[in-house]
Amino acid sequence: MIGLSAVLVMLFLGRIAGISGITWGAMTGPLSERGWRAAFLLGLLAAPLLVLALTGTAPEQTVPSSMPGMIVAGLLVGFGARLGSGCTSGHGVCGLARLSPRSLVAVLTFMATAILTVFVLRHLP
């Protein structure tokens, strides 16, 4: 479904379905590009409601409970995604689908640092 969505965006809108670019562009991009981006974000926001309607149960999740941790995580993810021109969707799905060498480097880099971070946080004393 994630792949189909990325294809919908390409076929109908001719754009990359990168969530970081869509998020930031919905607020700061050219006016002609803001509408579909804001609508995309509304669709993301509405997704749990559709899941609830389809399955009859609300999605379950467990979010880390450290508030300082989540703030640092948000800052790093936002800063890194914009500096690095993309996140998991832009580089990981759309970029790899385009066989972009930049995206391959980005994906290998963020997978490595994410795995290392989890290792340090969970397995080092």
Binding site: G43, A47, G78
Partner: protein, 144 residues
């Protein structure tokens, strides 16, 4: 752009966002605990999200080539694809920092949006921090 054309773009955007979000939720990408156990190779490793991401990339690979057989997308005049080619310092440093944040919180931007309505306090503080991070990166890289 006619009014009808604008409405169709909004409809396509909304439908794609909804599909994307449902995909994230059903696959478990919007559950940070599942993402963190996917990243935890040394623990109880859960590889299922690798198949989710690879599957999405493969579907996109095929669908993109189908889409590009057209001379233009259905609702815009032309395709707008990234043109940067160089593997430079901002790309690598940005991706590295992104990965550290992803490894701490278990959230990347899409899943955080689709989980916002679930109202977990961690998500509610992650989102404003994410926006602040986007904004701060613009100070480093004016054309971003």
């Amino acid at each position: 752009m006619t009014l009808a054309g604008g409405g169709l773009r909004l409809t396509a955007g909304f439908a794609a966002g909804l599909l994307f979000g449902v995909g994230l939720i059903l696959s478990g990408m919007s559950d940070p605990a599942k993402v963190l156990s996917f990243l935890d190779l040394a623990g109880n490793w859960d590889p299922s999200l690798a198949f989710v991401m690879a599957g999405a990339a493969v579907v996109s690979f095929v669908g993109y080539r189908f889409s590009w057989r057209r001379t233009r997308p259905v609702l815009f005049d032309k395709f707008e694809l990234p043109t940067a080619r160089s593997i430079d310092r901002p790309l690598v440093v940005g991706a590295a920092l992104f990965g550290i944040g992803w490894g701490i919180g278990g959230y990347c931007p899409g899943p955080a949006w689709s989980a916002l309505g679930l109202g977990d306090p961690g998500t509610l503080v992650f989102m404003p921090a994410l926006m602040l991070g986007f904004w701060a990166a613009g100070l480093m890289r004016p054309r971003g």
